[in-house]
Amino acid sequence: MGNKQTIFTAQQLDSYQDCTYFTRKEILRLFDRYRDLAPQLVPLDYTCQPDVKLPYELIGSMPELKDNPFRQRIAEVFSDDGEGNMTLDDFLDMFSVMSEMAPRDLKAYYAFKIYDFNNDDFLCKSDLEKTLNKLTRNELTEDEVRMVCEKVIDESDLDNDGRLSLEDFQTMIVRAPDFLSTFHIRI
């Protein structure tokens, strides 16, 4: 890498630090990770803000995401185009939200988006079923899946519209003891 100063200007680094939960070193490390995914695509000089996007196939192959059943959703939610192709900005954004420092609410908001498979701003039954099937690799029977989904909606749907809105989701998730520790990717 040589001189690290050439990748970003000091100002860029500062603004990235303002916009994410990362320190200088971590940002540079993230950049390295990003670049390692496709060294031929990503330039070493980001001072002029090149318009580079890495396709989802590359992002999803990161060891941090590779085994995550929700990797595609994560990439889609954080990418600007909604298809999982990420710029460096999106990349930083993603790991900032997933970092240890990010507050519960921010995480909850993005978790909601990740579990909202059809992007309709509600977790409806089909979303829940998909989530559950991804979690258990389709090992549960249909009846079981249906029952669990019903239970979930029964527990968390406060306004009784048969689906979970963001409010419902947040009310539920802020009390979850493990949410912060599990919704977290160390980079």
Partner: protein
């Protein structure tokens, strides 16, 4: 182009309007959010077209409020320039013609300034709306009427308006002629700078105040930016704008003297921020083993990694302890104290001298190691040493107290922080939801672990389903009960046996010690430590086997297991200490004898020298020849050091044999074995988190206990932790397999911390006991010659402080004052405890209330929905001729009904809020984070208001909604 103009007009309108459109914008926003995915691409194309003009618009917006006056003068000329902006021009003309009445509505203007930035955010969204022509038109009509009012009201804030107009002008230029862009931009900037110079003198104090507030507002925005759920691009743009704004106006604030001071303050805060950030960067750079832990985390999940994080934390604490003892005790004594060999306590006795350098002796911390700074006995009781007049005994005492105090502080602080973080959820009302949304550990980055996790999640769900169906019956409750009792009985037997064994061994070793260690084998000499380590190694395994009898849920079983190991270790440790106490008493008796012998020896020696005095010069006695006492403090220190060493050795050897050798055997014998070793019986070992954590905790306990008598202990421990970090990292990565049932580490964190606290307390207890009750040895250590060790404080007070200070101290420490003070503290503790209890009760009450209300609400809602459906049916029946028509229109009447209701309720909420703005502001575009809005169903069921009275909102870095919209 027409589209662009429309957009621009639209946003201009938005800026000049007040409350009335807030309701709409919220609706719009919400809807827009919902459809964003579909429209995104189209919008992007448009955005690109608008390109950097937009950015510049925003940049110059900051200045618009101050520049209107100037712009107004130029306006007429401008107007002719672009014919495509006819409509907008007309509007501007109107504006210009408005009489600038002097109604001083400072509050209003302030709000304008304040809201500026959020408006900008909104504006961005508005621009995205460009295609919504219809909505625009509607808006225009509405705002046209608002316009006049606005102008009159804002009449006196000429400058701000001027800025706005200028902004318009600027935009116009951008839109109409892109070639002129650059020149115009420069013009603008010049004007800006000119104005900046003029401004401070022309501003009224109120406006200054406003500006200050705006600047502060911006700063706050910058601070909270990272918590906003926006895309990075937006964040960056907002950041740049805010920074520009702040930079521009910050320096200009204040007048005369105040101005300079303000500028200075601003500069200092900037420097301070920079320093803080650099320091933060430095701090993270200093945290070691981040990558190692990350790797383990991705392979084994968060629970195994939690051990290593704990280990690292422990390492940090020991680092501080080490710095204290090393810097304030060992180094000063070594550098400034009397050198080795000058006085008896600093010399190896003649009898031991020949073997003092043998490795076997050194390994036992005898010989030269014993007579060095590593142990208590080496320190001299000289009050002040070296040219620094370093108060050695005092320092020794204070460091001893300080290490314990520091450890208490750190442990308790960490516990409190952990409790804060994880103190939210203990109710079980969201059982399935939590299982669904929080059971996946996002840290997992290893296929095998992921497989295990999938499997465990599946079983968890199956179990939960079974429990839910309540079909699980205990097959034979009597048998399980019997087995559990039996298991506990066996465990108790184990504990008692191990306690007795240790006591027996320690007693025997004392006998050996009396005989002289040289005539015994290695085993007999190291029996105590070896037995303790072996017990610590094998008993947990035994417990594991026993616990198989009990048939508990794994989580419960883990807790039992932990508790048993804890009891075992504690029992062992205390047996050891009791045996040690016996030994101390023995040594003290021995000391008395030696003391008597020494006086006779001295007397005889004196006689000899006196008799010879006349004939020859006095014989100098070598310090090595002077008889000396047994020095129990050094003995205790040695015992602890030996214990630590043997413990460390056992840990490492177990690791190598139990994990590495096993893994190697399993791996390579598998080729020529009759069953599958990898999948079958021996298999690879799993990482035993709880056992390792307990081992670490007890190790630390021994350090705390022994550190007073052996200042080298923290250093040793540091070494041990350092090595075990690398060794265990390596072992875990190369020969362990991920746990089959991955337990989550969270929550148990404080469990471990609590154990640590208990151990800390239990280990300081004997240390304090010995310090307070047993008089120090007469001829070794920094406190020799004193009646008690803490007399050193008294001595310092008397000789190093002025007389009045010791007087005050002694009068303050008399029982008449101390007792009431203690009483007061007890009262305070009692009071705090009772209040916390009542808070807890109130909490539980509230929770219950919340739950019942929730349920009630659900029922109500269900009823309402049903009723609505019935009503609808009736209506449909009644209007049967048009039924078909209706059906065509409303594919799903229920849904739509609900949608509408939702909208209506939201509208109500907003307008209500508009009238009385909420006390603190919300940012962001989420319509969602507010406390859930009660939905009003049309059929008279309005009793559901506020069923959720706002759950705790901890930190300000939450996602909030757009604030400006709620202000006029």
């Amino acid at each position: 182009m027409a589209m662009l103009i429309a957009t621009w007009k639209h946003c201009v309108y938005v800026f000049s309007t007040g409350l009335e459109d807030e309701v709409d914008t919220f609706q719009e926003e919400h809807e827009r959010e919902r459809h964003r995915g579909k429209r995104r691409d189209g919008e992007r194309a448009k955005k690109k077209k608008r390109g950097n003009g937009e950015g510049r618009k925003r940049a110059s917006r900051a200045g618009r409020e101050e520049e209107k006056l100037q712009a107004r003068r130029e306006k007429k000329g401008r107007r002719k320039k672009s014919s495509s902006d006819q409509e907008a021009e007309g509007r501007e003309g109107d504006e210009a013609d408005q009489p600038t009445t002097k109604s001083s509505k400072a509050a209003k203007t302030r709000k304008n300034v304040k809201n500026e930035k959020t408006r900008k955010v909104e504006k961005e969204e508005k621009e995205d709306e460009a295609d919504d022509e219809e909505r625009n038109r509607k808006r225009k009509k509405k705002h046209g009427s608002n316009k006049k009012e606005e102008n009159v009201e804002d009449g006196n804030t000429v400058k701000e308006k001027a800025g706005e107009v200028k902004k318009k002008k600027h935009k116009k230029v951008v839109e109409t002629s892109s070639e002129k862009e650059t020149s115009e931009e420069e013009d603008n900037e010049e004007e800006d700078s000119e104005e900046k110079e003029v401004r401070p003198e022309t501003l009224t104090p109120e406006e200054l105040e406003m500006l200050k507030e705006a600047v502060d507002e911006r700063k706050k925005l910058i601070q909270g930016l990272r918590g906003k759920p926006w895309a990075m691009k937006k964040k960056l743009v907002t950041l740049r704008e805010s920074q520009e704004f702040v930079d521009k106006y910050e320096g200009a604030l204040g007048k005369g003297k105040g101005r300079k001071l303000y500028a200075y303050k601003v500069m200092m805060t900037k420097k301070w921020m920079k320093f803080k950030r650099d320091f933060e960067n430095f701090k993270t750079a200093c945290i070691p083993w981040e990558m190692k832990i990350k790797e383990i985390e991705s392979h084994f999940g968060s629970s195994v990694a939690s051990y290593f994080i704990f280990l690292r934390w422990m390492y940090g604490i020991n680092m501080i302890l080490f710095c204290l003892t090393f810097g304030l005790v060992m180094v000063p004594e070594a550098l400034m104290g009397r050198p080795y060999g000058t006085i008896p306590r600093k010399t190896v006795p003649r009898a031991e001298a020949p073997s003092a350098m043998d490795f076997a002796v050194l390994w036992d911390f005898g010989g030269y190691a014993q007579y060095s700074v590593l142990f208590y006995g080496y320190y001299n009781n000289q009050r002040a040493i070296g040219w620094l007049k370093f108060r050695m005994p005092l320092s020794y005492f204070l460091v001893g107290v300080g290490t314990v105090a520091y450890s208490y502080m750190v442990v308790i602080r960490t516990m409190a922080r952990n409790a804060n973080e994880s103190g939210v959820g203990d109710d079980n009302s969201f059982n399935f939801s939590w299982k669904m949304f929080t059971s996946w550990d996002y840290l997992i980055g290893n296929p095998e672990t992921a497989d295990n996790k999938f499997a465990s999640i599946t079983t968890i769900f199956k179990e939960a389903i079974l429990e839910e169906q309540e079909s699980r019956k205990d097959d034979n409750i009597h048998l399980t009960r019997f087995l559990r009792v039996l298991a506990n009985f066996l465990v108790l037997c184990c504990l008692a046996g191990s306690g007795y064994l240790i006591y027996f061994v320690v007693r025997r070793s004392q006998k050996f010690a009396l005989d002289g260690l040289e005539n015994h084998t290695w085993w007999e000499r190291n029996e105590v430590n070896m037995v303790m380590s072996l017990l610590g190694m094998f008993c947990p395994m035994l417990f594991d086997v026993i616990s198989a009898l009990e048939n508990y849920h794994p989580r419960v079983a883990l807790q039992w297991q932990l508790g048993r190991i804890f009891a075992l270790f504690l029992g062992n440790l205390y047996t050891f200490i009791i045996a040690l106490m016996d030994e101390i008493n023995l040594k003290r008796e021995e000391e008395n004898i030696v003391k008597f012998n020494i006086t006779t020896w001295e007397a005889s020696h004196y006689n000899i020298s006196a008799s010879e005095n006349s004939t020859s010069p006095p014989v100098t006695i070598q310090p090595a020849d002077v008889p000396r006492g047994p020095c129990w403090e050094t003995m205790v220190g040695q015992e602890f050091v030996r214990l630590i060493i043997s413990d460390t050795m056992t840990t490492y050897i177990t690791l190598l044999i139990g994990d590495f050798l096993r893994a190697v055997l399993v791996r390579f014998l598998n080729y020529c074995w009759c069953w599958d070793l990898e999948a079958g019986f021996p298999s690879y070992s799993e990482f035993d988190v709880s056992g390792n954590v307990l081992g670490l905790i007890f190790n630390q306990g021994m350090i705390w206990m022994g550190a007073f008598y052996a200042p080298c202990l923290p250093a040793l421990n540091l070494l041990r932790l350092h090595v075990s970090m690398y060794l265990q990292c390596w072992a875990v990565m190369c020969c362990n397999v991920p746990q089959e049932r991955v337990f989550k580490a969270s929550g148990s964190n404080n469990f471990y911390m609590a154990m640590l606290l208990v151990i800390l307390f239990l280990s300081t207890l004997p240390a304090i006991y010995t310090i307070v009750t047993i008089p120090p040895s007469f001829d070794c250590g920094p406190f020799s010659g004193k009646k008690r060790m803490f007399d050193v404080i008294q001595e310092t007070l008397e000789s190093d402080f002025p007389a009045w200070f010791s007087k005050v101290f002694s009068s303050a420490s008399n029982p008449g004052l101390v007792l009431p003070f203690i009483l007061l503290m007890v009262l305070a503790i009692y009071y705090l405890q009772s209040t916390s209890k009542s808070y807890k009760e109130a909490n539980v009450d509230l929770k219950k209330k919340l739950q019942t209300q929730n349920e009630e609400n659900k029922k109500k809602n269900k009823l309402a929905a049903l009723k609505a459906q019935m009503d609808l049916e009736e209506a449909r029946k009644a209007a049967s001729p048009s039924a078909e028509h209706q059906k065509n229109n409303n594919a799903s009447p229920d849904q739509e009904d609900e949608e509408e209701d939702r909208g209506r309720s939201q509208r109500m909420y907003h307008s209500k809020n508009g009238r009385s703005p909420p006390p603190h502001r919300h940012y962001g575009q989420l319509p969602a984070t507010r406390a859930p809005v009660p939905r009003n169903y049309p059929h008279g069921n309005q009793g559901s208001a506020g069923y959720l009275p706002s759950f705790p909102r901890e930190n300000e870095a939450r996602m909030h909604r757009v604030p400006s919209l709620q202000r006029h």
